[in-house]
Amino acid sequence: MKPQENERLSRVGPGTPGGEMLRRYWWPIWFSELVTDKPVPVRLLGEDLVLFRDASGKVAILDKRCPHRGASLEFGRVEEDGLRCCYHGWKFAADGRCIDMPAEPADTPLKDEVRQTAYETFETAGLVFAYLGPDPVPLLPKFDLLFRKDCHRVLYSKEEHCNWLQRAENGYDPHHLMALHAPGYPQIALQPAKITWEKTLYGYRTQMDYPDGLVNVTQQVFPSHTRRLAARVGNAPKHYFNLRVPVDDELTITFFLQAEIAEKGPYRLETRGHASSDRLEFDPIDDGWWGIPSHEQDRIAQESQGVIADRSREFLGTSDEGIVMFRRLLTDSIKAVEEGKDPFGVIREHGMEDYIRLDAGKNFSDGTLKPPDIINA
């Protein structure tokens, strides 16, 4: 890949080809439970924003920078009808209109001239989603773990100090499981799997068939999410939707939606919040492999590829076909947006179904070689 192409695929800021494409999707931006009566500073796709919940209970998102003299609205006060800047008291409604300028003359025309950038939000499954793209706003697809009611959910997020594309590619790279995650999946350690790719409306269904009848199925949701079932040694099997969010060119936040399907309620929702980290730092362990704790393996491997991986220096093999497919999807999507069309997987109408079932499962869980039933959603 040429360096220019790498730039085109990886950069996410406003006005970049990749950034314009990524702005056609809804992104999780924070936890519902943590947006209360205080403004919350957030960063998404290279834009500095502030979240707050207005009196009606709806979450609003505005540009973080007050248009007056650039103070941050994160220090503002949430009032009945909007957010007031701490510096000179300008007040902005959820839709970005300026509704008060206490130091200016009462009839100032400036109030109508000022308009703060505001974006659409949507809440589901304990997460706040934002849409930063142009109108008309598409739908947030009803992916199962975001919409089905019959599960207990645990929500948390972690940060990876590298470009989003490295994290997204990891989902299209099933073969890393047998090496990077070998300590947690000793049954498949260094065992090559036969991979079957099946294109879906939202990405790819990936089936990994290992020797001894071991099977793992995951779903890639374009542009950067993975629906999977985790069953590493020492952990009970859990369903996951990993939503990888480009904060800016050099920082990714992964929102983990962990679900336990249960027939009977009441259903729990636990919000654990965000855990920060330092780039390439972890507490080493002695596992006979890489010495990286299970929950840090992906982060460390992908951070080590560089802040923005230099794809002009790669050697791709046949086992990287998933990566190649994904990059093609990405290139086509950027081109589609440049031609005024929707990129891959954007939907504007829901079907009849209640939610979109993304089957994901594994038939190996607790270190035994005996294949139990596939645990499936």
């Binding site: 205080k38 920078r65 248009p67 007056h68 003299r69 650039g70 103070a71 941050s72 994160e74 220090f75 503002g76 006060r77 007031r84 800047c85 701490c86 510096y87 000179h88 008291g89 300028m101 206490p102 130091a103 200016e104 003359p105 009462a106 100032t108 400036l110 001239e113 000022v114």
Partner: protein
């Protein structure tokens, strides 16, 4: 404002238009009480310097980096007649001349060549001031907070991790009291004031009045200082002079001189020293407004404008007349220096009288003064 103009007004390093202008003023750089027998590193206007007091009391202010191989003189030893570098023992006198090179052969011609920049200093009111500009050095203006007697003078300094101009603009921007300081000045909270900014020979006098009678008068001393009467809720009333010093393009150090009456008990200086802070971390308190602690309100807000605020993206209104007045003065001052003239507020003739300021606040119709 164009991005180029923003650069011109904000940058303070040697050789920049703004830096050349700022070098025409005396700046506080340290506390008398804290500069004793150890060298003290100082960064000001983007220059790294070291301040030291010789055993006889003479102050030296010279380049921080030894001209030999760049070691910092902050690790040096103060001796009779100068400061000795820790690395190879070169010794420098307060005027920047090298007076010893123990590893070189006696009579080395190198000694005359190795010369550090040395700057003038003077001490007043417990503070050490420096002048980094060209000769002749002007007078240090006799501000009342520096020269008044029979008072308790509390001095200290706090860092702000943003460009000096944001801090200076804040001093001339009276309007922000109605919002940012609403929790500590409830009499002004979100009330539309009438402000009269008058340009003076030292800067700007601002008279602020809100319809129900609350009022205040405060002063902006060019290029970046404020002189005001403080009467925040929870604080004893005091006369304040905040001297804002550009450490470099992205750091400001505010020296405060707070005066309270000594009621005939004579002078007293309390050196509070430095308050170090972390950009982005502020005292928080539940006050129903911005939840920022009183002393961090200005810093939080001005740091949040960016390391160097981008003034090409602003929306200024009529309430920003004071800020606009200051920016015009600043542009004119830089032009003056480029023409070889003095910028505003430079005092050349020695004087005996003090420069006083009528700073006060009015609350419930009553004038409050210290």
């Amino acid at each position: 404002m164009s991005p180029e103009e923003n650069e011109r007004l904000t940058r303070v390093g040697p050789g920049t238009p703004g830096g050349n202008m700022m070098r025409r003023y005396w700046w506080p750089i340290g506390f008398t009480e804290l500069v004793t027998d150890k060298p003290f590193p100082v960064r000001i206007l983007g220059e790294d310097l070291v301040l030291f007091r010789e055993p006889g009391g003479t102050l030296g202010l010279i380049d921080k980096h030894c001209p030999h191989r760049g070691a910092s003189l902050e690790f040096g030893r103060i001796e009779e007649g100068g400061l000795r570098c820790c690395y190879h023992g070169w010794k420098f006198s307060a005027d920047g001349r090298c007076c010893d090179m123990p590893a070189e052969s006696p009579g080395s011609p190198l000694m005359a060549e190795a010369r550090l920049s040395a700057y003038k200093t003077q001490e007043v009111a417990g503070l050490i001031f420096a002048y980094l500009g060209p000769d002749p050095a002007p007078q240090l203006p006799r501000y009342d907070n520096l020269y008044r007697t029979d008072c308790i003078r509390r001095i200290g300094a706090s860092f702000e991790y943003c460009n000096w101009m944001q801090r200076a603009e804040n001093a001339v921007d009276q309007m922000h009291s109605i919002a940012l300081h609403a929790a500590v000045y409830p009499q002004f909270a979100l009330k539309r004031p009438d402000v009269d900014w008058q340009q003076t020979d030292y800067g700007v006098r601002a008279a602020f009045q809100i319809p129900d009678g609350a009022a205040k008068v405060s002063h902006f001393i060019f290029p970046s200082h404020s002189r005001y009467f403080g009467a925040r809720i929870g604080d004893e009333a005091s006369h304040n002079c905040n001297l804002r010093v550009p450490v470099d393009d992205e750091t400001t150090l505010t020296f405060f001189i707070r005066l309270r009456e000594a009621h005939g008990k004579g002078d007293q200086v309390i050196t509070a020293g430095y308050r170090d802070v972390v950009r982005g971390e502020y005292d928080r308190t539940a006050d129903g407004w911005w939840d920022l602690g009183s002393r961090d309100q200005d810093r939080a807000c001005q740091e949040s404008q960016g390391l160097i605020a981008d003034r090409s993206r602003e929306t200024l209104g009529t309430s920003d007349r004071g800020v606009i007045m200051f920016r015009r003065m600043l542009g004119d001052a830089i032009d003056s220096v480029e023409r070889g003239e003095d910028p505003p507020g430079i005092v050349r003739e020695p004087r005996d009288d003090m420069m006083t300021f009528d700073a006060h606040k009015v609350r419930d119709g009553e004038v409050i003064e210290a």
